[in-house]
Amino acid sequence: MSDTPSENLMAIEMTGVNKWFGAFQVLKQIDLSVKRGERIVICGPSGSGKSTLIRCINRLEEHQQGRIIVNGIELNHDLKRIDEVRAEVGMVFQSFNLFPHLTILENCTLAPIWVRKLPRAQAHDVAMNYLERVQIADQAHKFPGQLSGGQQQRVAIARALCMSPEIMLFDEPTSSLDPEMIKEVLDVMIGLAGDGMTMLCVTHEMGFARTVADRVIFMDAGQIVEENAPEEFFNHPQHPRTREFLSQILSH
C-alpha cells in the first residue's frame, strides 16, 4: 500500500483482517477496499461471517489481526477515534433497534443533538426532512412500538441519515420483514443509492443487488469466495460454491 492520493478516495480499506470467536475463526484474511460512492452487496450462507465483516467496520466487533481504515482513520484501541468513525458510519440492523422509550422524532434527533451538538431546532428540521424522505413524517410523534416493521426500519434508516454519515452499513435490513413491507424499505435504499451514498449491504435480496450494486461479494466460511460486477456474478458465477448458493436462492 502506497501513500498515493488514491487513498483519499477510499472510504474503507481492510487488509488481512482475521477474527476469532473463541477458537472459531469467523473472518479469514479479508482484503476489501471500498471507494467513495461505491455500493457493495455482500451475500452468502448464514454463518459465513458477512454480518461480522460489516460490524467490524464500525467496531461493533473487534478484529484481532490486520488493519481496517475507515475514512482515513485506523480502527484500534483509541476509543475517541472510534466514536469519531461511528459518527460518520450509519448502521441499519436486522431488528431495527429503535429506542422504544423515545418518539420517532426523538429517535432521530438524539444523536445529532448529543454527538453532533446541533441546536435542538436544527436537529428537529433535519430529522423531519429525512422522515419526510422515508415517507413517515406523519408518524413523527408516535412511539416505535406503534409502527409496523417496515415503518420502523424506514425510521431506522432516517435515524442513521440524520447524522449525515459518509458511509451506510445495512445488516440484513429486510430479513425480519413481511414480504409486503420489504419493498417499501428497498425503495428507500434504492433512492439512497441514487444519491451516491457509499453503501455496504448484507442482504439476500438479489433483485436489489442486480439493480443497485457496483460489486457483489460472496462469502463462505469466513472468507471472500467470489467478487464481481452483478451482471457477471449472477449470469456467470465462477466458484462452485457460488453456483450452488445461487441455485438454492434463485430456484424459487
Binding site: A111, L147, R159
Partner: protein, 372 residues
C-alpha cells in the same frame, strides 16, 4: 372444490354468561366445584372476622378521655383516647414543643411538592422537581435542625415519631437510588477493578442484617474513631441505612439492565454515543422503567425497616408508640392493642400509597411505549 366469499360476515354479540356481572361471577368465583368451595370458605371467614373487628375498632371503642379510667369500662373496645392523647409524641417524639410548627411546615411543603408532582403533566414541572430534589432537602435540613437564621437549635436526639421515620426513610430512598444505579453499572462494567469492588460492596452489605449495621454504626464505630470525635448518632444511622439499601437497589437495577437487549447498546454505539450517554439516555430510562415494581418494593421494605432504629435508641414512629405503653396513666388492657393497630394503619396507608403511586407511574410511562 372451489369457494368464493360473496360478503364478509357481520359481528355478533358474545354469549350472555361470558359478559357482565354474571359472567364475572361465573369466571372468578364459581368456575368449578373446587373454586365454588373456596369462594364459600372465603365468605365464611369474612363473616367470622369482620363483625368482631368492627365491634372492637368502632362500636365498642373509646374515643375520648383524659386517662386510663375512660378505657377501663366493661367490654371496652379499642382505646383510641390513648392514641389521641399521645398523638403529638407519635408524630414528633420529644421535639421541642414550641418548635413543632417547623416540622409541620416541612411536612406540608414536602406533601405539596410530592402531590403536585403526582398530578403529571403541568407547566413548570421540571422546576418543581429541581426544587424537590435540591432546594427542599437543604430547606428541610435547616428547618428541622435549626441553629441558623434565628431558629432555635433542636438536637437530633430529641427527634422522634413519624418525623424520624420520614427522615430516615426519605434520605435512604433519595440517596440509595443513584448509588444503586452506579453500583449496578459498576457490577456490569468491563473494568475488572470496578466490577470487583462493586461485587464486594454489594455482597458485603447484602450479607449482613440491618440490625448489625445499625449496631456497628452506633456502638462500634465510635470505638474506632479518635476519642473526642462525636458525630451525630442519627447521621451515623442514616449513612448505615443508605449504604445498606443501596446494595439492594443495585441488584434491582441490575435486573433491569439485564432485560435490555444488546441491540439497544449496539444502536447507541453505532450512532457514536459513548458509555455515559448510552447509559444515561438509552439504557437507564428503559431499565429503571422495567424495574419500578422492584424499586418501590425496596422503598417499602426500607420504610418499614426504619423501625429497627429503635434498637440503637432512636425512637421512630413505632418506637414512640411503644414507649408510651409504659405510661402508668394509660395502663389499660387495650392500650397496647390500640397503639399497635394505629401504628399498623399508618404504616399501611403510607406503603399502600407508595404502591399505588408506582402503579400509576408505570402505566403513565408505558403509554404507547410497549415493545412491538
Amino acid at each position: 372444490m372451489s369457494f368464493v366469499r360473496k360478503s364478509y360476515l357481520p359481528e355478533t354479540s358474545p354469549p350472555l354468561l361470558s359478559v357482565g356481572v354474571l359472567g364475572w361471577l361465573k369466571a372468578n368465583l364459581f368456575s368449578s366445584v373446587g373454586n365454588t368451595l373456596l369462594s364459600l370458605l372465603g365468605l365464611y371467614m369474612l363473616w367470622v372476622i369482620v363483625p368482631p373487628l368492627i365491634e372492637w375498632a368502632l362500636l365498642d371503642a373509646v374515643w375520648q378521655g383524659s386517662g386510663r379510667e375512660a378505657c377501663l369500662v366493661e367490654n371496652a373496645g379499642a382505646c383510641w383516647a390513648f392514641v389521641a392523647a399521645k398523638f403529638g409524641q407519635f408524630m414528633y417524639g420529644r421535639y421541642t414543643f414550641e418548635e413543632r410548627w417547623r416540622v409541620d411546615l416541612v411536612f406540608l411543603v414536602g406533601a405539596l411538592t410530592v402531590g403536585l408532582l403526582m398530578i403529571g403533566r403541568m407547566p413548570g414541572r421540571r422546576y418543581l422537581a429541581v426544587f424537590g430534589l435540591v432546594i427542599y432537602p437543604v430547606l428541610a435540613y435547616f428547618m428541622l435542625t435549626g441553629g441558623a437564621f434565628g431558629l432555635v437549635e433542636v438536637e437530633t436526639s430529641l427527634w422522634g415519631g413519624l418525623l424520624l421515620t420520614f427522615v430516615v426513610a426519605s434520605v435512604g430512598i433519595v440517596v440509595s437510588l443513584p448509588l444503586g444505579v452506579f453500583l449496578a453499572l459498576g457490577r456490569r462494567s468491563k473494568m475488572p477493578v470496578m466490577r470487583t469492588l462493586s461485587v464486594i460492596y454489594i455482597e458485603a452489605w447484602r450479607g449482613v442484617p440491618l440490625i448489625t449495621v445499625l449496631f456497628m454504626a452506633s456502638v462500634m464505630l465510635p470505638l474506632f474513631l479518635p476519642p473526642g470525635t462525636n458525630f451525630d448518632k442519627l447521621l451515623r444511622v442514616l449513612i448505615g441505612v443508605t449504604l445498606f439499601s443501596s446494595a439492594y437497589m443495585a441488584e434491582v437495577v441490575r435486573g433491569g439492565l439485564q432485560a435490555i437487549p444488546r441491540g439497544q447498546y449496539e444502536a447507541a454505539s453505532a450512532l457514536g454515543l459513548g458509555y455515559w450517554r448510552t447509559n444515561l439516555l438509552i439504557i437507564m430510562p428503559q431499565a429503571l422503567r422495567l424495574v419500578i415494581p422492584g424499586i418501590v418494593n425496596t422503598f417499602i421494605g426500607l420504610f418499614k425497616d426504619t423501625t429497627l432504629v429503635m434498637i440503637v435508641g432512636l425512637f421512630d414512629f413505632l418506637g414512640s408508640v411503644q414507649v408510651n405503653f409504659s405510661d402508668a396513666n394509660w395502663a389499660t388492657p387495650q392500650t397496647a392493642a390500640s397503639g399497635y393497630a394505629f401504628a399498623a394503619l399508618v404504616f399501611w396507608i403510607i406503603c399502600f400509597g407508595m404502591s399505588r403511586y408506582s402503579m400509576r407511574l408505570e402505566s403513565r410511562l408505558n403509554e404507547g411505549t410497549r415493545r412491538a
